[in-house]
């Protein structure tokens, strides 16, 4: 196995380019070496970069490749979080029609297989007579997180910027956090995760949650690696209806990509609530009640594959018979 890996050209390239990658990462943030199996032909064009030692180095531009997910912070920084920030999410239930673009964007960004959803959309019907509505749910990044309380090894932790992350190199896979989370947010890598080689070769970092590791827990992370670059999480960007607003509570702004609003004003005007406030977990996700709907709830069934449609079978009929 070992020998095969070394003989693999991609792997060899990776080792060869490791030094350049370090320099490139330090210098440009998300610029890094190509780890693909083709040997890049030199272009002769030189690019100047700043090395971690503060020296200017020249590198052939062929070695440069825009690479997402390259861990850009140390583990310590990934533990402490971003100073002066408090991330928050607002979900407008009146706009969701179960388009599921958020899910596919999230799966793609995090290299998750189709059946492992960090972000799910539930069809809620609170009581017989109540109006059903679509309910997208990420991790709530609770301020009083029951999952963090029970972790025996500090693998899952709360940061100063409000995020609850997982260090999947420390997680022992006891699943206590999964039992403790009342929202069933966490998922477990029951089998060896199948991910592209260049992702598997990445250095593990709680901010990217990559590469996934067998026998460990993972969940929605609010994409702090993107937040560091000033980007919105893929679920927010992908939503065609602007359901999700992501932002910083301290800055008092949230944005769904189209409009940027005052967080306090938004939750005040629209009577935002947090899911199951009585549990005392203090979620960082606020929901805007599903009034002034943009779509009838049935629209959520449009173009759904059969296996997804089966999930919501019978829910709309509930109570109608009575």
């Amino acid at each position: 196995m070992k020998a095969e890996e070394i003989n693999d050209p991609g792997r060899r390239d990776f080792i060869k380019n490791a030094a350049i990658a370090t320099i490139a990462t330090a210098a440009c943030g998300s610029l890094a070496c190509s780890c693909s199996s083709q040997q890049a032909a030199k272009t002769g064009e030189k690019v100047r970069l700043l090395s971690p030692e503060g020296e200017i180095v020249e590198i052939d531009s062929a070695y440069l490749n825009y690479q997402e997910h390259m861990a850009i912070v140390s583990k310590l920084e990934a533990r402490q979080g971003m100073a002066g920030k408090k991330f928050v999410m607002v979900v407008d239930l009146g706009r969701c029609k179960n388009a599921r673009k958020c899910i596919s964007a999230c799966q793609k960004w995090h290299y998750r297989p189709p059946e492992t959803e960090w972000l799910t959309v539930k069809l809620m019907k609170d009581s017989d007579k109540a109006a059903p509505y679509w309910f997208p749910k990420q991790c709530f990044h609770c301020d009083n997180p029951p999952c963090v309380k029970v972790c025996p090894v500090d693998a899952t932790y709360k940061r100063q910027d409000g995020l609850v992350l997982i260090d999947n190199e420390r997680c022992i896979g006891c699943k206590f956090c999964m039992a403790a989370c009342p929202y069933s947010t966490r998922v477990f890598n029951w089998d060896e995760p199948q991910q592209p080689l260049d992702i598997m070769n990445l250095k593990s970092n709680p901010e990217t949650n990559l590469p996934a590791k067998v026998g460990t827990v993972e969940k929605c992370d609010f994409c702090p690696d993107r937040a560091r670059e000033g980007l919105l999480p893929p679920c927010v960007e992908a939503c065609p209806n602007g359901v999700f607003y992501f932002g910083d509570e301290k800055e008092d702004t949230v944005s769904n990509g189209d409009e940027t609003l005052s967080f306090t004003q938004l939750i005040k005007d629209r009577a935002a609530y947090r899911f199951q406030e009585e549990l005392g977990t203090k979620p960082r996700v606020y929901y805007l009640p599903p009034r002034d709907r943009q779509f009838p709830v049935e629209r959520g069934y449009d173009n759904l594959p059969e296996n997804i449609k089966a999930r919501f079978e019978g829910i709309l009929d509930e109570g109608k018979k009575k």
Binding site: P152, V153, N189, T216, V217
Partner: protein, 449 residues
């Protein structure tokens, strides 16, 4: 070591079990070992292929392994509490059964934690529990509690064995040299001088005093792994005492079964008498009533209230298409039947009491299953998952084989243990000689007919 004639007699009766490792013992040990080996293979598959080959999934994250963990650890706590009480209060009839109950304590506290390790996704990172411990986590409390408890109970067993080791050392048995040497070392030069007798008695009592509350604490901590989470059926203030009582109840059951087996195989009718079955039967009956009461309080409160989450769980537990039959078995067979058998004098015979005890043990296992699985299948948000193995737990052969391997290793170690020590302790029997003749009177005094 000087022995009284009664002690000598008890020793002569049992020495052959230490001297010989008969063909029948070999056959049983090999039989148990085959299952352990099969379990080893299942474990190998689980480690190499990942937990995907078990029935556990994202909703039911713990399954049969944690059920077995609670089951075995419960036996251990029960053994410690029973032997501790018998030692501390110098219960005269308790002497012959203390050893069995202590063996149960040690063996199950070794077998039990293996099962919680089986739930852990990353074996290679277990040391993280010690290098990155977080004291807030009930899991850390449990790690500390079980380790403390293991040390305490091993010491307790060992201290109460020293006098017996001295007997075996001096008995000039036909045993291999290494075994003789082992006894020489383990007896720690005990000769029965007044000073030694006193120190031994003091340490034994001290350990009993420490172990009884310690068992109660660790059984409660075990329950808090569940009680501290926000889940229906788990998040309950009753959970600590509920687990303590459940542990004691199943422990008495296993003790009665073990007594019956050893009485038969080692022909110990003279020492483990019908009275022992009767007395432990009474204890089992009282515990059955207590456990039934706790279960009733739990279900009744949840059922009477209207909270959606709890109601859903209760509906599942009593729906015959879901867990209804399990609930029926756990309560009718596990609580009512043993009370009926022991309450009626005609049925109060060792055979029937043992049968009731055996059923109690199985019912208590089912009850633990009912504590774990239905709760994990009841989520706050609707699951809305089409993958049936995610919505409903069903154990795979890997989990079954490892469960059987766990039981087999419990029996394996018990059998090995009985080849190194006598099942009925020799040294403690002395004080009992005179009382033995008046035994029926003594029994009448305590329990008027």
């Amino acid at each position: 070591m000087k022995l009284t004639s009664y002690q000598q007699q008890a020793f002569e009766k049992q020495r052959s079990h230490i001297e010989k490792f008969g063909a029948r013992t070999w056959a049983w040990e090999i039989f148990f070992f085959i299952w352990i080996a099969a379990g080893g293979y299942a474990l190998y598959l689980q480690i190499t292929k990942g937990h995907g080959i078990t029935g556990m999934r994202d909703n039911v994250v713990w399954g049969m392994y944690i059920v077995n963990f609670i089951f075995f650890i419960g036996l251990s706590y029960a053994g410690a509490i029973i032997s501790g009480l018998l030692t501390l209060f110098k219960v005269p009839w308790g002497k012959p059964i203390i050893r069995i109950s202590q063996m149960m304590t040690i063996i199950s506290v070794i077998v039990g934690p293996i099962f919680i390790l089986l739930c852990v996704g990353r074996f290679d990172r277990l040391h993280h529990l010690f290098i990155y411990p977080r004291i807030q986590s009930p899991m850390t409390w449990d790690v500390l509690a079980i380790m403390t408890y293991l040390v305490g109970s091993v010491l307790f067993l060992y201290i109460s064995l020293i006098r017996d080791y001295a007997v075996y050392r001096d008995a000039k048995m036909k045993i291999p040299k290494w075994k003789q040497k082992l006894y020489n070392a383990l007896a720690l030069g005990y000769r029965g001088t007044p000073g030694q007798v006193k120190h031994l008695a003091v340490s034994q009592n001290l350990l009993a005093i420490i172990l009884i509350p310690l068992s109660i604490i660790v059984a409660s901590i075990l329950s808090w792994i569940f009680g501290m989470t926000l889940r229906p059926g788990w998040h309950s203030t009753i959970f600590g005492p509920y687990f303590v009582l459940g542990a004691l109840y199943s422990g008495v059951g296993v003790l009665i079964v073990a007594m019956y087996v050893y009485r038969k195989v080692h022909k110990l009718e003279e020492y483990i008498t019908d009275m022992h079955f009767k007395y432990l039967g009474y204890a089992m009956m009282a515990l059955a009533a207590g456990y039934g009461y706790f279960t009733f309080s739990e279900y009744f409160t949840d059922w009477f209230g209207s909270e959606k989450w709890d109601s859903e769980l209760i509906a599942k537990l009593f729906d015959l298409n879901q867990f209804g039959w399990y609930t029926f078995y756990a309560n009718a067979i596990g609580v009512l039947l043993p009370i009926a058998i022991i309450a009626i004098p005609k049925f109060r015979k060792p055979g029937l009491i043992t049968l009731a005890a055996f059923l109690v043990v199985t019912a208590m296992w089912v009850k633990r299953y009912l504590i774990i699985v239905p709760t994990l299948e009841t989520t706050l948000l609707p699951m809305q998952d089409t993958r049936t193995n995610y919505t409903h737990y069903s154990a795979t052969w890997v989990e079954w084989i490892l469960t059987i391997a766990g039981v087999a290793s419990f029996l394996f170690f018990f059998t090995i243990g009985s080849k190194f020590v006598t099942i009925v302790p020799i040294s403690g029997l002395g004080e009992e000689t005179e009382k033995k003749e008046t035994e029926p009177v003594a029994a009448k005094e305590i329990l008027p007919a």
